[in-house]
Symmetry: C2
Subunit: 126 residues, 2 copies
């Protein structure tokens, strides 16, 4: 009873643990970047927004609010988060702002959209 909550298994493989440590540190940046994008897409509202932007090419906060049935500020704050993380961009047309996906991140996001479309292969049961 000297080092409580520390668990140093006799059967542990120090070589394996060391190799794993190396892999983690070598990819540290990738883990940070990727988990950031996944965290954004890991919110149901934002995943829907991303999916809709992919489908429609571009949409404004007003329409998104209408489609998703939630307040405009709520939508706007989600859009800002994604804009700040550089996964979406916008263009102005009068007082309307159209948001769209940044093509750079499509490689990461496209598989998700494919999954969503593939998951729902029974649109009308007829």
């Amino acid at each position: 009873m000297e080092d409580l909550n520390t668990c140093i298994r006799e059967k542990a493989n120090p070589m394996q643990i060391n190799e794993c440590r190396k892999k983690v540190t070598a990819n540290e940046e990738s883990f940070t970047q990727l988990s950031g994008i996944l965290a954004l897409a890991g919110n149901e509202v934002r995943l829907k927004i991303l999916y809709l932007l992919d489908q429609e090419r571009e949409l404004c906060p007003c329409d998104l609010s209408d489609i998703l049935g939630m307040s405009i500020p709520a939508v706007s704050q989600h859009l800002r988060k994604m804009k700040d993380s550089n996964i979406i961009e916008f263009r102005k047309e009068g007082q309307t702002i159209f948001y769209s996906l940044k093509t750079e991140n499509l490689k990461v996001l496209q598989p998700f959209f494919n999954i969503i479309n593939r998951m729902n292969l029974t649109p009308n049961t007829a």
Copy 2:
């Protein structure tokens, strides 16, 4: 000044909005499921754990704690979360518990691991 914070654009396309609503409701379940998995992988610690489980086939909380440099209870709670969401499973060997990825979810997770591996194509600058 009658319906503040509601924005009904004249230029909005009601057809488009209606189609979008349909798409969202048709895929409601997919959005919930997928965003759940993405939220799990959207945490940097958990993404590392998933990556390591993929690389090593299976690992115990003790070794993961050692590799990641964090407390065993912290690791254990992440593992529980992923076990509860059915993306990992475990087997017992004595008092050691080995966690591994559930193969069902590999289709969703594999692209992430590929991205991590591809992101780091300059391991040693020599």
